[in-house]
């Protein structure tokens, strides 16, 4: 049925590989779909979605997105250059944490070739002891052009005490059409490296973020009122569009929406167990954390308290360092994804439950009998190389399922802060009953709300 009214709204949840779209009319669900980005891009997926729904116009579109997480595994920085106080070009990279697994420092966020010194200094008291000269700025512009830098982060020591040099550089570079990013000072975050990391992340993510925005808005152009764009949700539950300093924060936008709404729905204190297609995590909607332990070190990024569970839907099954068939530390994601979806080469946790995925939108369509057979062969091969071999695939499969559930159970029991656990997400109907059986003392409650259900809730309207 075509819905001609303009008070229809669109809620989108964009994960690393899946998009979930939900149309609402007066908070009632009109149409829902989830698709793999590999199958349909944002634009074509949305057009198909609207065609299926029969809806011709919407009044607004709100997006909760974790898409940028996808590019974390690639080297960030790209065309982002950094200008920093002379003598301190190596400071952020010296502060990078050590990856204990390989006993190596984590690579810096920006390539050292794109870090440029600025002969300036502001003291801790805010006195400019060395002013940046016009000649130096002209030289910097030349160097930045040579390196084809587009986005520039300005990281000067003590600039928050007196931003004179920072402003002078910023104005000059803006005139030259560079996109400028300056760190936001926050009295709760007095560590310059953490601020600088956040600023580079926002700058580095900008390109991808803007591409996603452009494609989305292109896809929504015919449905939204003229000139209106989709709004994104930040970790503070605020809507944003072009604000470049909020891009990183979009990672936790969905958590804030779920937390805000679910804690209103329940009178008891609750934990939220999110069992989504791409992520398993436990949230405490009552609490906030200030620090994000990013792969590049700590970043001040306030967000709802969340704990990623020790196993994720795409955690690889492998032979552990001890020679046993077990789970790795890494989640592989959906590119290519679990083996039962046809393209994956490495068995994952979700492959263990492939027979229960036929009703899950987004992955059911990709089910491949050939992939399942490949998974079973792979499991057999892995079992043969393990130091504690099991008899057959028939015994390996339940063994690994039990192990996975046991690990998840222990992790949840250790991290849950409340006895009432609200389970949500596409895989919640599959896993929640199993977890409930194993931890009878915790009250698991399954909510059929999807990731997008709350983006247009009544209580939430004033926040966005």
């Amino acid at each position: 049925m075509a819905q001609a009214k303009t008070d229809v709204n669109l809620a989108l949840y964009i994960g690393e590989s899946f998009v979930e779209a939900h149309l609402f009319h007066n908070q009632k669900s009109l149409h829902f779909n989830r698709w793999h980005l590999d199958k349909e891009g944002f634009k074509s997926g949305l057009q198909k979605f609207f065609l299926e729904s029969g809806v011709k116009t919407i009044s607004k579109a709100i997006v909760a997105s974790r898409f940028i997480e996808k590019i974390f595994s690639y080297r960030l920085g790209g065309s982002v250059a950094t200008l920093t106080t002379k003598g301190f070009e190596s400071w952020p990279s010296a502060r990078q944490p050590i990856n204990l697994a390989i006993n190596q420092k984590v690579g810096p966020l920006s390539s050292i070739e794109l870090v440029f010194a600025v002969d300036e200094r502001c003291t801790a008291q805010g006195e400019i002891s060395k002013e940046v000269s016009d000649e130096e700025i002209a030289e910097l512009v030349e160097k930045l052009r040579q390196k084809q830098a587009k986005r520039i982060c300005i990281h000067l020591l003590n600039a928050h005490k007196n931003p004179h040099n920072q402003n002078k550089l910023k104005e000059a570079l803006l005139k030259e059409n560079f996109e400028i990013f300056v760190p936001t000072f926050d009295s709760e975050n007095t560590d310059e490296v953490s601020r600088w990391r956040k600023n580079i992340l926002n700058a580095s993510l900008s390109g991808t973020f803007e591409e996603v925005q452009a494609e989305l808005n292109e896809g929504l152009k015919d449905f939204l009122p003229e000139g209106q764009r989709a709004s994104f949700i930040s970790a503070e539950a605020a809507a944003f569009d072009k604000e470049s300093d909020q891009r990183l924060s979009s990672l936790w936008g969905s958590y804030s929406v779920w937390a805000h709404n679910l804690k209103r729905q329940y009178s008891d204190k609750i934990d939220i167990l999110y069992l989504g297609l791409e992520q398993f995590c436990l949230l405490n909607p009552e609490k906030k954390i200030q620090i994000w332990k990013s792969p590049w070190g700590e970043v001040h990024a306030p967000q709802v308290q969340n704990h990623l569970l020790c196993l994720q839907p795409t955690t690889a099954i492998e032979i552990s360092p001890w020679g046993e068939l077990s789970f790795s530390q890494a989640a592989l994601g959906y590119e290519p994804g679990p083996m039962f979806m046809g393209r994956g080469q490495i068995p994952t946790l979700l492959d263990l439950w492939e027979d229960k995925t036929s009703t899950i939108k987004g992955i059911a369509e990709r089910y491949s009998a050939q992939g399942v057979q490949k998974f079973r062969n792979q499991l057999l091969a892995l079992n043969k190389t393990s130091s504690q071999q099991l008899d057959s695939v028939e015994s390996t499969l339940p063994h690994l399922r039990q192990l996975a559930l046991h690990k998840l159970t222990v992790d949840i029991a250790l991290r849950a802060e409340n006895t009432k656990i609200i389970c949500m997400g596409a895989l919640a109907p599959l896993f929640a009953p199993e977890l409930k059986k194993r931890i009878p003392q915790l009250q698991f409650e399954l909510t059929l709300e999807t990731e997008t259900s709350f983006l247009f809730s009544k209580e939430y309207d004033h926040v966005i």
Binding site: S90, D191, E192, S320, H406, L414
Partner: protein, 448 residues
């Protein structure tokens, strides 16, 4: 269940702790971790010495920081909490957590002048903090300010952790039987031995001379995947005194790093190492010898001797990283005191130049990294008169490395003389600095 499940379970339980261990009531370390890796083997002794005289019930808490009872620096306090009692074939389990409070550079000629030493002492029993004991500790002249409040916070953290354990035990029944534990420790030993057997076996001798005139002699032997470190011939302590448990810990740390064994730290994996040291040598110190310098300099010297010997036996050409952190304390008029710890490999996550400049009369001049030379240099100046105390390295002279590899340069502090020349300071000491004096810290063994 998998053999490694015990390890994974312990890892999950201790995930939020920097330095902690799960220990059986028989004294077997099931899993241990620490930001100062030499400490991991000492947890066993904390349990042994504490439970020898004190009976603790599950949920009760005991504190100790005695360096001669499995402890470490006096500012690192260990807390012991029994989680379960032994029952039938199931050993009791204990949680041992170590937390740091107001670290400083406290060097003296007697341990009891270096700080407040707490022998194993119960502080939480029958659901209550034992206030008279905590107050008595707080009134000690060397007790750091704010200790009482800090202790209360730790007790509340540990109570939460204990409650979490109870909840998990009730819900998930992660029972560990004596048989399973024995199997797991045997499995860990086998795993460690196999890792060692992957590389060459043999023996090597190494001698390290410390600037404080102690001489460390090591005879290292690797045979059948087992390692014997013999420190016979090592001299008595002059300034450096290291309790034997820390010597063992430092040796294990070096071999764990060399063979990449950091994933498994338990009594099974520790059992591949045997350490012998003469009673009178500085690696077998006895109370009341001071230990701060030993934990800093002595541990670094042991690790370096082990690393050099391991490289020699295995004929490794891998770069040898420095084993020494630099500790420095600057005291300014008015009582401000800046204590800092520097390592080329890892900067403290909290270290902020802006924060230091706003809190102390310090101005940073530059920081330079040279990855090819594995060198990191930091230059700063003091804007006010101050006194500086430091511990940099066990020697300010380069070490002799095995053929084919290069030992790192020593960690150094330099000051700029009136003539504008850099002069290196001794490896340890103290001096007064005039306002405007520039200092340079040289750290080696930088990770790429």
């Amino acid at each position: 269940m998998l053999s490694s499940w015990i390890h994974e379970f312990a890892e999950l339980f201790l995930r939020t702790e920097k330095c902690a261990a799960l220990v059986s009531s028989d004294g077997d370390i099931i899993h241990a971790k620490s930001d100062l890796a030499f400490e991991v083997t000492g947890f066993k002794n904390i349990v042994d010495t504490s439970l020898k005289y004190i009976a603790l019930l599950p949920g009760e808490i005991l504190i100790t920081n005695d360096p001669y009872g499995g402890g470490s620096f006096l500012h690192r306090y260990a807390f012991l909490v029994p989680l379960t009692q032994a029952e039938g074939s199931q050993p009791g389990l204990l949680l041992c957590v170590r937390r740091e409070f107001t670290p400083g550079l406290n060097i003296s000629d007697k341990l009891d002048y270096e700080g407040l030493r707490i022998p194993p002492t119960p502080i939480f029993q029958n659901g209550q903090l034992i206030t008279p004991i905590v107050e008595a500790m707080s009134m000690h002249p060397l007790c750091p300010q704010g200790f009482n409040l800090w202790l209360q916070k730790i007790v509340s953290d540990l109570n939460r952790l204990y409650a979490k354990w109870n909840q998990t035990e009730k819900n998930c029944k992660p029972q560990i039987s004596a048989m399973e534990l024995k199997k797991f420790l045997a499995f860990s030993r086998r795993f460690t031995t196999e890792r060692i057997l992957e590389k060459a076996q043999g023996e090597a001798r190494h001698e390290v001379r410390l600037d404080s005139h102690e001489v460390l002699k090591l005879h290292l032997e690797i045979n059948n995947g087992l390692i014997r470190a013999d420190f016979s011939g090592t001299s008595a302590g002059i300034k450096n005194h290291l309790p034997d448990l820390a010597t063992f810990g430092a040796c294990y740390e070096a071999l764990a790093s060399f063979y990449n064994l950091n994933c498994l730290k338990n009594s099974g994996s520790f059992s591949v190492l045997q350490v012998t040291k003469p009673l009178s040598c500085f690696l077998n110190a006895k109370y009341p010898a001071p230990t701060y310098q030993g934990f800093q300099i002595g541990v670094a010297a042991v690790r370096m001797a082990m690393t050099l010997a391991l490289h020699q036996i295995v004929k490794s050409t891998q770069a040898i990283l420095t084993e020494t952190d630099l500790k420095m304390e600057m005291s300014f008029p008015g009582g401000a005191r800046w204590f800092s710890s520097w390592s080329a490999q890892s900067f403290n996550e909290d270290l902020s130049l802006e924060r230091i400049e706003s809190q102390y009369p310090i101005q940073f001049i530059r920081l330079e990294k040279n990855i090819d030379k594995a060198h990191l240099e930091l230059e700063f100046k003091t804007l006010a008169a101050c006194q500086i105390r430091w511990l940099s390295d066990f020697t300010k002279y380069p070490l002799k490395a095995p053929r084919g590899s290069k030992a790192p340069e020593p960690t150094l502090i330099e000051t700029m003389s009136d003539k504008g020349e850099w002069t290196s300071l001794l490896s340890q000491g103290n001096t007064d600095l005039a306002p405007g004096t520039s200092l340079r810290i040289n750290l080696w063994g930088l990770f790429a």
